[in-house]
């Protein structure tokens, strides 16, 4: 049911764009125009979304500083208001936004840090594995394992980066002078029980896990990962991934 003057369309436009005038019909109790009262809503919306962004991306904020982060997040918010009331998942497009955000180009790994932070959050709220992962490899005919498809636990995500992304994240997360390597890293984010774990994994892990997730067999996943990353440590990748399998289809 639409009100004839599309009042809510005007209202949210004015909330998101401070250059727009206070919408029609909005008055103080004496019937006079009021900007300051309308600004309470502007302020509530923007400050609550800024707070949500700070909570979601604390390491990004730490890397660029509070003021820079707020300005960057403010621009993001104006162009990407939440699409759902589930605020814990707000900021999904922030990594992509950072990638194209010119003033942040001097911190080239920033978008990957944002990606890692968002993946931690998604992993935290992901479904519990049921039944819990156990030795699903037991009882599989070794001759046939390459033909098997593995279903991985929901609480498992992986990101890849051209940077030593785990090392950078870990140093800032722990606030300790951990050494930072020179090579690219993938980071595996899992929740084996109640706590979310982040670990550095070989390059190629993301490709491998993405392939298993779309339902290809182990053999095909290995083959295609090696096509893309000829030097990938495939046995280590398999060893890191399969303990997170919750079921197997031969």
């Amino acid at each position: 049911m639409q009100s004839p003057d599309h009042f809510q369309t005007d209202f949210v436009a004015a909330i998101m764009d401070p250059a727009l005038a206070t919408p029609n019909h909005i008055v103080d109790p004496n019937g006079n125009p009021t900007d300051k009262r309308f600004n309470v809503y502007r302020n509530n919306v923007i400050s609550s979304l800024l707070e949500a962004m700070s909570q979601a991306f604390p390491i990004v904020e730490k890397l660029v500083g509070h003021e820079f982060f707020r300005e960057m997040a403010r621009i993001y918010i104006r162009n990407n208001p939440p699409s759902s009331p589930l605020m814990m998942f707000y900021g999904k497009n922030f990594p992509k936004f950072i990638e194209n955000f010119e003033p942040a180009k001097s911190v080239p790994y920033l978008s990957d840090i944002a990606r890692l932070e968002f993946a931690r959050r998604v992993t935290y709220f992901a479904g519990d594995a049921s039944p819990p992962p156990k030795a699903v490899l037991d009882g599989v005919d070794p001759e046939k394992i390459a033909e098997c498809c593995f279903v991985l636990r929901p609480a498992l995500n992986v990101i890849s980066s051209k940077f030593p992304i785990y090392d950078i994240w870990k140093r800032n997360f722990d606030d300790k002078e951990h050494p930072i390597g020179k090579s690219a890293q993938d980071a595996l984010i899992t929740r084996p029980y109640m706590e979310v774990l982040v670990q550095p994994v070989p390059v190629g892990t993301k490709t491998f896990i993405d392939l298993l997730r779309i339902g290809v067999s182990l053999g095909v996943a290995v083959e295609r990962t090696l096509e893309k990353f000829s030097t990938a440590d495939i046995s280590q990748i398999i060893g890191l991934t399969l303990p997170h399998a919750i079921s197997i289809q031969e």
Binding site: M1, Q2, S3, H6, F7, Q8, T9, F11, V12, I15, H25, I26, V27, D28, P29, N30, G31, N32, T34, D35, K36, R37, F38, V40, Y41, N44, V45, S48, L49, A52, P81, P82, S83, S84, P85, L86, M87, M88, Y124, F125, A126, G127, D128, P154, A155, R191, M194, E195
Partner: protein, 290 residues
């Protein structure tokens, strides 16, 4: 269930807005806290520690589920996907109470994370009634509708907030969550007497009461403008208005709502004790009369 029988101890009617910071307090202390209220959207999750914790708490406390994202006044309708998430939450949480706001927060594909105001027109009233019917039908239960804190008025409003709310309860059979702080905030901001509001309010439908803190600002002309910030103790005039209300409604489940700048547990527990004090005093008067 939140026990509403005549012989339930008075303290069991007072709850707090639950935040995970208070987990060890509500698990280990002899708190006298009767029930917990949560924001529905925070628990629309598939699994993990937050859900496990809430399943555990729901074994120990009655839970009130307070939605903040249904956007009942939305011109673009109730989001069916969100309503379905709410139904799924109800299935595992089995809350004693369910409440939502007389406000809107979504428009088309966007969600604006605040409780935005509605003009009180016949058209808007019909829309809200339609949405509440849809919600109650989908959930298969009664909801409580919360009166808003408002900062602006509308020159196209056709009726008072109370007449608007009365039409809604008459048409939908929904109950009411009476937020006493919101009454005080709106009365100050809209320049009416909060006691007149309570005296005219359809109190017979009130299934829950909220108490919370507010901030003080001023408008373009220097008139006081109160902000419903939930980051302070309940103010004295709000306690007085609460006592006045309880004298009329009798004992009702009452929540201390503190969402921002969370205090030490002791501060929150003291607010709960103050509310228990008001209910105990009322019960004393009631018993003396009987």
């Amino acid at each position: 269930m939140i026990n509403l029988s005549d012989n339930a101890p008075v303290h069991s009617y007072v709850g707090i807005g639950y935040k995970s910071q208070y987990l060890s307090n509500v698990l280990t202390e002899n708190t006298d806290i009767g029930w917990l209220e949560i924001h529905a959207e925070n628990y629309m999750i598939d699994g993990g520690p937050r859900k496990a914790m809430m399943l555990d708490l729901a074994e120990r406390y009655p839970i009130s589920c307070h939605g903040v994202g249904l956007s009942i006044g939305s011109e673009s309708g109730i989001n069916a996907e969100h309503l379905e998430r709410l139904r799924a939450l109800m299935d595992w949480l089995k809350p004693s109470l369910f409440s939502e706001h007389l406000a809107w927060s979504s428009h088309n594909a966007g969600y604006f994370n605040d409780l935005l105001p509605l003009p009180y027109t016949q058209d808007v009233c019909a829309r809200v009634i339609h949405h509440i019917n849809q919600i109650q039908d989908t959930l298969g239960r009664q909801m409580l509708l919360e009166n808003p804190s408002t900062y602006v008025a509308f020159d196209n409003s056709e009726m008072s907030e109370i007449d608007f709310i009365k039409q809604i309860t008459d048409a939908t059979g929904c109950g009411l969550l009476l937020d006493i702080n919101n009454v005080f905030v709106s009365a100050t901001n809209q320049n009416y007497n909060p006691y007149d509001y309570i005296n005219e309010y359809p109190l017979e439908h009130v299934g829950e009461i909220h108490l919370g803190g507010h901030d003080v600002d001023e408008d373009d002309n220097g008139a006081p403008l109160l902000i419903d910030s939930h980051n302070n103790p309940v103010e004295d005039p709000v306690w007085a208005l609460y006592e006045h209300t309880i004298a009329k409604t009798g004992i009702r489940p009452t929540l201390i709502e503190w969402d921002n700048d969370l205090p030490e547990w002791g501060v929150l527990a003291n607010e709960a004790r103050l509310a228990q004090g008001v209910l105990t005093k009322h019960k004393g008067v009631q018993d003396a009369v009987a």
